[in-house]
């Protein structure tokens, strides 16, 4: 049989590579004995998810994922770990006493979820996304989703101010 390049399932290959990143990274996050390495695995996993968004033709979300998750949240976590070196607890056991109990529970959860996913017949529509999704998103945020958008911005500002207040050193020391 001659080699037929049209038989190469490129999209599926990309999907599996991304899955290897996302799931492999996730397993690394929960199993690595070193917290810093855990955070690096988290970055890998977030990368995989960004790749998923590209495959799902949600390019804007992929970029937002890179910017917010990989570029900000993960770095914040790394920062927190670096600032407090003893947080890492290097060499000690990172699991609590109930980890052996949570493992089967989580496996059952996964089995149930997969069962549900494969029994429900999803009403898949063959339609393609229309128009410029970025522009549509903008219209949605300033139109039908205006109030959630505002609420979320207030939440974010409150969280940031609260975060600064909590993590701040003693005020007297600051004033001097």
């Amino acid at each position: 049989m001659p080699f037929d390049p049209s038989q190469i399932p490129i999209v599926q290959i990309v999907f599996f590579v991304m899955t290897a990143c996302a799931i492999g990274g996730a397993i690394g996050v929960v199993s690595s004995p070193n917290l810093f390495h855990s955070a690096l695995y988290l970055v890998l996993s977030l990368f995989g998810v960004a790749g998923y968004y590209v495959l799902l033709s949600a390019g804007f979300l992929a970029v937002v994922q890179l910017m917010v998750y990989v570029g900000a949240i993960a770095i914040l976590i790394l920062f927190a770990i670096m600032f407090a070196r003893r947080l890492m607890g290097q060499g000690e056991n990172q699991n609590n006493q109930q980890w052996w109990l949570s493992l089967p529970i989580v496996m059952i959860l996964f089995a149930v979820l997969v069962g549900v996913v494969n029994t429900v017949s999803w009403p898949v529509s063959g339609a393609e996304p229309t128009g410029d999704t970025v522009m549509e998103l903008g219209h949605a945020f300033l139109g039908s989703y205006l109030i959630p958008f505002e609420v979320v911005s207030i939440l974010l500002s409150v969280a940031l101010i609260g975060g600064i207040f909590l993590a701040r050193e003693k005020v007297e020391a600051e004033e001097a």
Partner: protein, 104 residues
């Protein structure tokens, strides 16, 4: 015809969700728990975007929800890490089992 069936996405997302839950349940360290929760939120986002793409691609709501989830995750990480740093300053630990001031 889409090259990847919807159920693959949902399965992957279920796996990510379960791993995240396991991380949140089994980790001793508060930052480890936080990372587990981030995984859970990501799993939710994959679901939202996959449903948007496969079931209602003409309605942008799926992506709107996903962006709101990402924003909330950012807020959660900011507050969570601030609490952990403040705790660490005061108690020199971030292991949640040691934080038992209210026990007696």
């Amino acid at each position: 015809m889409m090259p990847i069936p919807l159920s693959w996405w949902l399965t992957v997302s279920a796996a990510l969700f379960s791993i995240g839950v396991y991380g949140a349940l089994s980790r001793k360290n508060a930052i480890g728990i936080l990372m587990g929760i981030e995984l859970v939120l990501n799993a939710v986002n994959i679901n939202l975007v996959a449903f948007w793409r496969y079931i209602a691609p003409t309605d942008i709501s799926g992506q709107v929800f996903a962006i709101i989830v990402i924003t909330v995750a950012a807020a959660e990480a900011a507050v969570g890490l601030a609490i952990i740093i403040a705790l660490y300053r005061r108690r020199q630990t971030a292991v949640v089992d040691d934080l038992d001031l209210l026990k007696n």
